[in-house]
């Protein structure tokens, strides 16, 4: 104790104190902050909390009753699935006007997203957030999934979901970083310019098959690096850069006079 007191005027003392304070604050926060909620039925308090979040963050564009205006869509009837998708991918709240809302780091944590979803779902019936078994890739058939993906999805998202261009600066994004839940939700709600795939068009089992197919893509390519997975254009680029580049370099070496 005396040793510490003797050094209380040391010039590093404030630094040490600051570090200590930060540590204590962090520990207290970690101990007292609420943990991620499990998927329970939303309680009344969830809906109220969601309503409060909505009023603060969403109502300026979507209206106080979520009725929308001008080109901003109404959220009545979009369901919990739409909210979960848009907010968990960070597309909402939208940051700037672009040809389409861009995915970015989400602004809310899981509990807040669940609350927002509960509030919007309470306005009118709509697609619900899928259960874990509905989006479990292990339960799906990747072969049927590829067949469905090929017909319904590949033309926008690319053969293995690396993304593709739409008109006027819009695009179908890469699905590399998209979770199974988000994929399901996107199919059922049709965000932005993506069409809706209701359960009559793609049954829930078929949706799970698509998810299983996309999960298979995480293994990478059996041929080495996939060069972006966008097809012959990148192959053509690399044959010139790597192939001709290396070989012209070798040709120069062959023709150069040795020392």
């Amino acid at each position: 104790m005396k040793a510490i007191a003797d050094r209380r005027h040391h010039r590093l003392a404030p630094v040490l104190l600051l570090l200590l304070a930060l540590l204590v604050t962090g520990a207290v926060y970690a101990a007292l902050s609420p943990s991620a909620t499990s998927a329970e039925a939303p309680s009344e308090s969830d809906i109220e909390a969601g309503a409060e979040l909505f009023r603060t963050n969403c109502a300026t564009c979507h209206g106080t009753e979520a009725e929308g205006r001008d080109s901003i869509p109404s959220l009545i009837g979009v369901g919990a699935a739409a909210v979960d998708f848009q907010v968990s991918t960070g597309r909402m709240p939208m940051q700037a006007t672009n040809p389409q809302a861009l995915a970015k780091p989400p602004q809310f944590d899981d509990e807040q997203i669940a609350q927002l979803a509960a509030y919007v779902a309470s306005l009118a019936p709509g697609p619900a957030i899928p259960s874990e078994s509905q989006v479990d890739p292990a339960l799906g058939d990747p072969s049927n999934g590829m067949s469905l993906f090929r017909t319904n999805c590949a033309m926008c998202h690319g053969a293995v979901g690396k993304g593709g261009a739409l008109t006027d600066g819009k695009f179908a994004p890469s699905l590399d970083q998209t979770t199974p839940t988000q994929i399901y939700e996107a199919m059922i709600t049709g965000p932005s310019n993506m069409p809706v795939f209701n359960d009559a068009n793609l049954t829930p089992e078929e949706k799970r098959d698509v998810i299983a197919f996309l999960a298979e893509q995480k293994q990478g390519s059996p041929g080495g690096t996939d060069l972006g997975g966008v097809g012959p254009v990148s192959e053509g680029l690399w044959v010139w850069v790597v192939g001709m580049g290396l070989l012209i370099g070798c040709a120069v070496w062959i023709g150069a006079k040795a020392s």
Partner: protein
Amino acid sequence: MTEHSSELSTPGAGAAPVAARPAGSEVTLPERFENPGLAPHRDRVADRDPAAARGAARRIALLFGVSMLGSIGFVVAYVAAPSDGTVTGVRNSTLYLGIALFLAMFGIGAAAVQWARTLMSDREIVEARHPQRTSDADRAAAIEVLRQGAADSAIGRRGVLKGALLSALALAPLTVAVPLVGEVGGTWNVNAFRHTLWKKGTRLTLDPSGRPIKAEDVVEGSIVHVIPDKLRDSEHWIEEKAKAVVLMTRIDPAVLKEAPDRAGWSYEGIVAYSKICTHVGCPVALYEAQTHHLLCPCHQSTFDIADGAKVVFGPANRALPQLPITVDDEGYLVAQSDFTEPIGPSYWERLK
């Protein structure tokens, strides 16, 4: 520094005299520079120093050694890492075999090239070129030989003989060409392009499962890929599918614009169009739900589904043909008839 006068010459410009020779010089300069001949040979290190030459030889041998390691490594990889059908297994097998092959080949190549560059004599040899043209004497001899041959052939002034020869030779290839060309085209039935499998009452079904579709199941903003009912039962189902694929969606009737003569072709905002692009035939399938634009990924032709699928951008010229639809008594969507024009890309007799 003073400005340099322009060196650009244009014909007809006033010809300035050639720069005067320095006063008092006796030497007549040649009009152009002369070739100085081969530059003196510069020795390489290995030419002069035997130790360096031995070092170079060792390095070359080392490169051959790397190649040998590669070849052996290839056989080892072949046995130890075969293709097992899994993605990672195949990737590893390809990688090991390929790296080994690279070492095996590149090693030999690098060794041979280094040998040529560092050890082999690099003295240049000069060889004369001769004009390609044969000498006049030989040409005359060639002409003479041909003349003698022509005289021997007794073709002389026999024009009928020459004509007959050429005619026979010209006709002979017909014996190969005619059946070859004639049989290659199958039935040659170009009218087949006009008709698809769709008929009055054919149900619209999902592609590829074949499930029939109820009108109430088609929601606004969705896209449904459609094939005719019982497509797989037809004899040439792939050829029929290539003409019969259809894209269907439901559009808010307030937004949907319909031509007066097509008023009955949709059903409560559900419209169906041919999926084959009228440009050069790719499936046009990128549907943007909010703009109602349909984009073809091949050459970016864009069609407005809310307005008769007319072209709004890109190289296509014609709107997509529309399939007239309605519902049957069970609520399933059916076609009213075949398309009223040939689907897909244009061809010469299309409108005839």
